[in-house]
């Protein structure tokens, strides 16, 4: 099951806040579409989906601070 991990969004950016999930658990997602919006110290990033499948589980809710390497979601 592909894991969605928070990548390093920029040099020295160690964390981000979950702004918005474009899909809910159980929904089908297509590779390349925006999955989650993340706010950093400088701006907001959209993280695209790395593969197609069902968004099995979301591990970080809107407003939550996540660190680089944290598990954000699983796609099945």
């Amino acid at each position: 099951m592909p894991e969605i991990i928070l990548p390093e969004l920029g040099e020295g950016i160690t964390q981000a806040t979950i702004s918005y999930w474009y899909f809910e658990e159980g929904e089908h997602v297509e590779e390349g579409v925006d999955l989650v919006e993340l706010a950093t110290e400088k701006t907001t990033f959209n993280l695209p989906t790395p593969c197609s499948g069902i968004l099995k589980k979301i591990y970080a809710n809107v407003g939550e601070i996540v660190k680089v390497g944290d598990l954000l979601a699983i796609i099945e």
Partner: protein, 290 residues
């Protein structure tokens, strides 16, 4: 529910691609720095994915204290001669067609670092004449001989950012001078260079002040203008005074085009080297026919 920290138009896609990671690896392999990384540029993943970057030469410690900039300040480090060959090798290895160089200000050096710029450009042009080289230079104290040295080294585009409006210089660029920066661009034009400059907006400037700067740049023959939004790179950096919306960027672009710039790129995520290759391609024939 949405957690809103920034205006809705300030959303950048993150490109976690193979090329993005490849570029980072090659840069590390050749011991090279980019301003994209040092300044936490939001376009980094997009540009690296297209094998675009702006190399930061002459070390990573700046002798100036610009308040908008996230590049480290302090006692500069010694730069190394191998940087010249390392840059050329990395460019060839990655198949870069448009190289952008920039540097910290090196007021501690007698030549302000101009000779190092020239060495890199000359070497690059010798090894790969087809590579377009753009240099985003500090002001070199507006010394004509130093600007001439860089322009005549085989450079294709000379960029020097005016950054902000004259009224804000004491707060934003305390160690720089508006007229000195204009002079740099004027001298570069005198020696026949394609010239480029840019402003970062959202620092408290007024529309009429921005228009005045655009007029000043146009009068001295600046060819390319970039306008982007200042984004606070860290907690200790200057706060954003205003988020400029895309419509206002379009308004500025239309005015700038009307004044006579050959190319204007304006938008929240525009930075001085953003889409540099596309801009050069779009106007090079126009420039050479003049």
């Amino acid at each position: 529910m949405k957690f809103c920290q920034y205006p809705h138009w300030l959303v950048k896609r993150f490109y976690n691609t193979r090329e993005f990671n490849q570029v980072r690896l090659i840069l590390r392999k050749f011991n090279l720095r980019t301003v994209c990384e040092e300044a936490r540029c939001p376009n980094m993943s997009e540009c690296f994915s297209k094998k675009r970057f702006t190399l930061l030469i002459l070390g990573n410690k700046c002798t100036r204290n610009c308040r908008f900039c996230f590049v480290k300040k302090g006692k500069p480090i010694l730069f190394y001669e191998e940087e010249v060959d390392n840059i050329c090798q990395a460019v060839i290895c990655l198949g870069i067609k448009h190289l952008v160089l920039t540097s910290v200000s090196r007021d501690d050096l007698p030549d302000k670092g101009a000779e190092h710029f020239a060495r890199i450009i000359r070497r690059m042009k010798f090894l790969q004449p087809s590579v377009v080289v753009e240099a985003l230079i500090p002001d070199f104290g507006s010394k004509e001989a130093l600007i001439e040295l860089v322009v005549k080294s085989g450079l294709d585009v000379l960029n020097h950012n005016i950054e902000t409006v004259p009224r804000l210089y004491p707060q934003i660029r305390p160690d720089a001078n508006y007229h000195t920066s204009l002079k740099v661009l004027k001298i570069a034009k005198k020696f026949g260079s394609l010239t480029k400059s840019g402003l970062i907006l959202g620092l408290g400037e007024k529309k009429k002040e921005v228009k005045r700067v655009m007029n000043d740049l146009s009068k001295i023959g600046v060819d390319i203008l970039t306008l982007g939004q200042y984004l606070r790179p860290g907690e200790n950096s200057l706060e954003v005074k205003e988020y400029i919306n895309p419509q206002t960027f379009s308004y500025y672009r239309e005015i700038a085009e009307g004044i006579g710039f050959k190319y204007v790129l304006a938008g929240p995520f525009v930075r001085s080297s953003y889409l540099a290759e596309e801009i050069f391609t779009a106007i090079k024939d126009k420039f050479r026919s003049i």
